[in-house]
Assembly symmetry: C2
Homo-oligomer: 221 residues x 2
Amino acid sequence: MAELQQEAGKPSEKAKKETAKKESGRRGYHHGNLREALIEAAEALIAERGPDSFTMADACRHAGVSTAAPYRHFEDRNALLEAVCMRAFEGLAEATGSAKAPFEEGSEEAILAGGKAYLGFALENPARFRLMFGRNPDIKSRPNVEMAGRLCFQNLLQSVLAYLAARGHAGEDPMPLALRLWSLVHGVANLAIDGPMDIIAPGNNPEAIIEASGRAILAAV
Amino acid sequence: MAELQQEAGKPSEKAKKETAKKESGRRGYHHGNLREALIEAAEALIAERGPDSFTMADACRHAGVSTAAPYRHFEDRNALLEAVCMRAFEGLAEATGSAKAPFEEGSEEAILAGGKAYLGFALENPARFRLMFGRNPDIKSRPNVEMAGRLCFQNLLQSVLAYLAARGHAGEDPMPLALRLWSLVHGVANLAIDGPMDIIAPGNNPEAIIEASGRAILAAV
DNA sequence: ATCGCCATGTTAGCGTCGCTAACTTGTCTT
DNA sequence: AAGACAAGTTAGCGACGCTAACATGGCGAT
């Protein structure tokens, strides 16, 4: 895990200055790629212990720098979390987008596949998911994050629009149906990753809920 | 706010010892009702700033005691949160239970009313809701909390059982349908309180989602 | 009545955290 | 070669969770 750490010791070897520039190891006094290293450390730590118990000091130890170093690259803790959050939204958009790609645009299967991919992302990256959708006004209100979230939703909206058009509801506002589907999938994801579903119904298959409820909601247009 | 504080002064009046035993004001050195006061302070502070940024020190200031006092009544911060969480579950059970009471047991209306009450509780007590369902393994794994959550779910399970029986599905396992409904309502509640729904679709009415999707899911038995 | 026990308060302090100030290093431009 | 500036460092502040050791005073036993 923390194999990045290394003793600074005496900066006796300043000869290797031309070898690594912005790539990996630090070259003496300067780290060389601290911003990236901090984001990756934060992602790993958040995945391990959740977004709330993530600490700057831990990220610094992982990156092998002092606790003051991050503030050259991020205004504060929330700015670092914002960067992690942005990457998470990109990951979600990619997951849902590529999941529905094999299916016909606007088909029931495409929409359900997107929903299952949303659930899959949450199950595989519960900490990231919580960071994206949990309560953190300082982060969620930042324009970049808002826009990233909006972009993700566009994905679904597009599918719903095509679905309605294919069912003879062209021109209809896709928003209500999209919100119904989003709510369903988001609820399943939250219950699945935060634990209560396993407590109430151990061994239950969350995908089955999306399958059944999704079809019911789609059928009711 | 902190009107509980008062100078101990001389304990000249020990005559009123039988009047206020565990009720309100402190009587000299001892607070008299610190456990309750801390829970109430925690509830207020959590409601203001969320469960994560709640601090013991703040609760102590509200109660007018030193920062070491709470540890006579709660093992640690999480134990205090557990107490708040328990009360929250009781509140949710009461809200959903009384909401469906006016309707015929097992009717579609009763189930929808319960779901709307669940949503209403989340909207009125977003911080409590997050505390109950957010990620906090230290709290959620405690037996008391698990049981309180299970009790809440029994409420829904009961309604679904009656619904199925009234529709000629007596003896059928109510769990799958209950999970579908719970997921839907939980998703709407989460999206509504954590913000993204307002960003994506400002002015949207969350109850309408429960109404439409709930009926669709129920109709698909 | 009084006396002592011990529940419930207090102060003092440890280690950690987020963050800032002031200093140092070394890279890159000129 | 010089020196400006980016990107590290150490030192330190205030707040936090929590503990240890001490103080108080309500209560039951005598």
